[in-house]
């Protein structure tokens, strides 16, 4: 058994920032991660990080843009705190060594982003996530903590209403072990692989969110799933919003700059949900290119600008789609990109379970509400990662010693042992593929009652079949079939919460677009969805949205 004050699950930006805060507070900290920290999905973030710095911009405008972008579902007190922290957070990351792109006067360069009233997205070419991840890891690595690399977390142990620790699986040795801790911070990022068409990495399977849910944590607003407007057609690889921020334009097969019909004022720089729906509408109404996609044009920006500021996506287009964006348009289509929902937390990362904290995409504070603005997620990982780490450290200092027992380990291990011993049953990758196809087809950008009912039915049938999942590989060394099985189980739990929440919410708000309820319904639905696990499936309840200064208005771009 391993023993630490604070165990952080996940080593992306949120997990690392939480760990740094807890280490600085004097606690004994461990990070448990499926991947080496530098391989985390935070590194794939391209476009930038928002901060209203400089005399022309204001924190208030950033707050207003975020509230409006959230379609008034974001908690305004949390958003105010979030935007106030933006400047100091970016400066701190610069001091840690982040290599940001610069303006001629030596200050941090800024680019325009969707849904923002001012160019306030600070960036490092089009690899901002990688630049931040490198700098934070290099800074954190100078501190004392324990890294458990390539461990899959399988269970959160809660007893007497308090967190006692986690159970995890060591890929290298094939053994399960107990990690006793007063406080656990979940920072496992997204669960985009619930969908087939996603910009997310293969490892984005929502493990931490699922184990928290299984242990009784409240999940918030899970039906709000963001689809990024521009991903490569075949692979779903992300083409950053920075491409439109730098002046890229969208065209249909008739050569029309169609965004003028959907967002006449800001065109391609409308909020992501608006642009994604516009693209799908163009295709559904017959104005997409054969096979169903639209064009993102960068050619007019010129080779120099494309190759310097959009270097990575230039490479991606050339290598993964055989397209040279300097001379031809990039065929694009929306893809699942971000989960606004997650483990419900307050603005210090605390959840409904004592000793359980969460931050980053795994958490829902909520600052993104029904739709996240580009450039706000990198900022979220750092601002709330730090808060969760501080709160976890404070809690761990006064919480009673955790108690784990041998049966915690045996209970976590038992279903996997049974799967490995099973001679029949289905392999996890088959169930995963069916789940992904179901979510793409029935719980996508446009939703309706019949589809969602069908989605609920299908996901529940898959969950029933998962009870007889089979692990084929019998090796103890680096057995990825165990990982596949754990991940598929986790994703099925979360898929059910998403589809049940989407079915219940009979309105359209932000990324949740119901064709049978096309209008936002503030009278009945200006509230957060809260899901708690029960043997019959998620039990839904609702919680109020926090307001400070901004009255809900119709959202026009």
């Amino acid at each position: 058994m391993h023993r630490h004050d604070v165990v952080v699950v996940g080593a992306g930006l949120a997990g690392q920032r939480a760990a740094l805060a807890a280490v600085e507070a004097g606690r004994d900290v461990a990070i448990l991660s499926k991947l080496h920290p530098l391989r985390s999905h935070s590194g794939a973030a391209q476009g930038g990080i928002n901060a209203a710095v400089g005399p022309e911009d204001s924190v208030d405008t950033h707050i207003y843009d975020t509230v409006k972008g959230s379609d008034y579902l974001g908690d305004q007190d949390a958003i105010e705190f979030f935007c106030q922290e933006a400047g100091p957070t970016v400066v701190e990351m610069e001091h840690f060594g982040t290599i940001f792109s610069r303006a001629p006067d030596g200050s941090l360069a800024r680019r325009p982003f969707g849904g923002a009233g001012f160019p306030r997205t600070i960036y490092a070419a089009d690899r901002t996530g990688l630049a931040l991840l490198q700098a934070l890891w290099e800074h954190l690595a100078t501190r004392r903590f324990t890294l458990y690399e390539e461990w899959d977390v399988t269970r959160l142990i809660v007893r007497g209403g308090r967190v006692q620790g986690v159970v995890a699986f060591d890929r290298k040795t094939g053994s399960f072990d107990l990690f006793a801790a007063q406080a656990v911070v979940i920072a496992t990022g997204p669960a985009g692989r619930i969908y087939a068409r996603t910009t997310n990495a293969h490892s984005c399977t929502g493990d931490g969110v699922a184990i928290a849910y299984e242990a009784g944590a409240q999940l918030k607003d899970m039906e709000f799933v963001q689809f990024h407007p521009t991903a490569l057609v075949e692979s779903g690889i992300l083409i950053t919003e920075g491409a439109r921020g730098e002046g890229g334009i969208l065209k249909n097969k008739n050569g029309e700059r169609f965004m003028s019909r959907y967002a006449p004022h800001v065109l391609e720089l409308a909020s992501r949900d608006v642009v994604s729906r516009a693209i799908v509408t163009e295709i559904q109404e017959g104005r997409g290119f054969p096979g169903g996609y639209v064009h993102l044009e960068l050619m007019h920006l010129g080779r120099e600008k494309i190759e310097s500021r959009l270097q990575e996506i230039c490479d991606y287009s050339r290598r993964f789609a055989g397209i040279d964006p300097v001379v031809e348009p990039i065929p694009v289509l929306p893809a699942q990109h971000y989960m606004m929902g997650g483990i419900g937390t307050d603005r210090r990362g605390a959840t409904n379970i004592a000793g359980l904290f969460a931050a980053g995409e795994a958490a829902c504070v909520s600052i993104h509400g029904a739709n996240r603005l580009g450039g706000n997620s990198l900022l979220e990982t750092l601002v709330f990662g730090k808060q969760a780490g501080l709160a976890a450290a404070e809690y761990a200092a006064k919480a009673p010693a955790p108690e784990l027992v041998q049966s915690d380990l045996e209970e976590a291990e038992a279903p996997l042992r049974a799967s490995a011993a099973r001679a029949d049953g289905e392999e996890p990758q088959k169930l995963r593929a069916e789940m992904q196809a179901t979510m793409d087809r029935y719980v996508g950008i446009y939703r309706n009652e019949a589809d969602l009912l069908e989605g609920v039915k299908r996901i529940r049938a898959l969950k029933a079949r998962f009870a007889r999942v089979r692990i084929v590989d019998q090796s103890r060394v680096y057995n990825l079939n165990v990982t596949d099985t754990l991940e598929t189980g986790h994703m099925l739990e979360l898929a059910e919460v998403i589809v049940v929440g989407a079915y219940a919410r009979t309105e359209s708000r932000g990324a949740h677009a119901r064709t049978d309820y096309p209008r936002r319904d503030d009278a009945n639905w200006m509230k957060h969805t809260i899901a708690i696990r029960s043997p019959e499936g998620p039990q839904l309840s609702y919680a109020p949205v926090a307001y400070t200064r901004w009255e809900p208005k119709e959202r026009v771009y």
Binding site: L35, H36, L38, R39, S40, H41, G43, A44, P88, V90, V91, E94, H95, G97, I99, F100, S101, R102, P104, G106, S107, A124, R127, L130, Q134, E138, H139, A141, T142, K172, A201, H202, S203, V233, S235, I237, F289, P290, Y293, Q311, E312, D315, Y316, R319, F320, A321, G322, I323, E328, P329, P331, Q429, A433, V472, D473, S475, R476, V477, Y478, L480
Partner: protein
């Protein structure tokens, strides 16, 4: 339209994949799988198809599938590549098959998964973090100023994704545990040129003793790098900066300087002189055995060279090269 125009007709893709499970296998073997896939299909997609549809026990690291997480470096037809960005078509055209093996210079854990702890240890050895300079504290409440020209000095090093393809390709890593490897040295360069770093002198002094001159200048790292970081060119820059900043302190740098001086003097090498200048008169004694062996096998190498024709022209070239450049300042 262009996407639709790319060749989509499936081709037969014969894979030979290195398999080794230490729990069950006495020695590695190669498993054959034949797939039919469009030529632009990345190797990673093919391997995942094998996992999902043929043999779920095939073990490899992968995550982002877009060349940014650095997980899926492996040997594709004997070259260190990222599986996610290597299309199968050209491999089949060139080699008739696709041989997949784990990266080199790192012990195999299972199949294509290698133990990367030595790679990370060498990376950690160069102190990959900003070292603060007490005489130049960070500005309070705001960023350090840095001009776009200063950002350009990092060259392509910020693109490094630590995939270890360079480390796998490097013969000096294989030969010498003291050599930090191309990735670690490119990372060192990134800190040496950082105007915020306070340890430039110390970094350059230490690396001269800790393996900088062990680079064989074969450029295989630059060839292997999927992100165009060009480690060998940054190693060259480090050598120049080290000699300029802290002088000619080690056999490696003395050899380089003596080499240049030899050529300027006569247009060709004087091996005896070169050895004496590299090792010094005392340590030269240790090289006597080696000298005798060379004298026996290739006595012409040990003769005092005569100045070559066109020496003046050569010296002019030297003078031109020694003009201080923007780069080396």
């Amino acid at each position: 339209m262009a996407a639709a125009a790319a060749p989509r007709t499936p081709v037969v893709a014969p894979f030979e994949v290195y398999r080794f499970d230490p729990a069950h296998d006495a020695r590695p073997h190669y498993a054959r799988y034949t797939l039919e896939l469009a030529p632009h299909t990345p190797v990673l997609t093919a391997l995942l198809k094998i996992r999902d549809e043929i043999d779920p026990s095939l073990t490899l690291r992968y995550s982002c599938r877009s060349a940014i997480c650095g997980s899926c470096a492996m040997q594709v037809n004997s070259k260190s590549r990222l599986a996610c960005e290597t299309p199968i078509g050209p491999e089949i055209e060139r080699h008739g098959r696709i041989v997949i093996e784990p990266m080199r210079n790192q012990p195999v854990l299972r199949d294509l998964v290698v133990d990367q702890s030595p790679f990370w240890a060498r990376y950690a050895s160069i102190r990959p973090h900003l070292v603060s300079d007490p005489s130049r504290p960070m500005p309070v409440g705001r960023e350090n100023p840095m001009t776009p020209a200063e950002v350009d000095r990092f060259k392509e090093t910020p693109r490094c994704i630590a995939c270890a393809a360079c480390y796998s390709a490097c013969p000096a890593v294989e030969a010498d545990p003291q050599f930090p490897g191309p990735m670690a040295l490119a990372k060192l360069y990134r800190f040496v040129v950082d105007p915020r770093d306070g340890a430039r002198q110390d970094r350059l002094l230490r690396i001269q003793r800790e393996g900088l001159w062990l680079c064989l200048r074969c450029h295989l790292c630059t060839e292997a790098c999927p992100k165009d970081v060009r480690p060998s060119e940054r190693i060259r820059d480090l050598k120049e900066m080290a000699v300029q900043a802290v002088g000619v302190t080690e056999p490696g740098s003395r050899h380089a300087v003596a080499f240049a001086e030899n050529i300027r003097r006569a247009g060709m090498l004087n091996e005896f002189r070169l050895a004496r200048q590299t090792f010094g008169p005392v340590a030269l004694l240790g090289q006597v055995g080696q000298g005798l062996r060379i004298w026996r096998k290739k006595p012409e190498l040990m003769k005092r060279p005569h100045p070559i024709e066109g020496l003046d022209e050569l010296r002019q070239l030297y003078d031109a090269l020694e003009e201080p450049s923007e780069e080396s300042r």
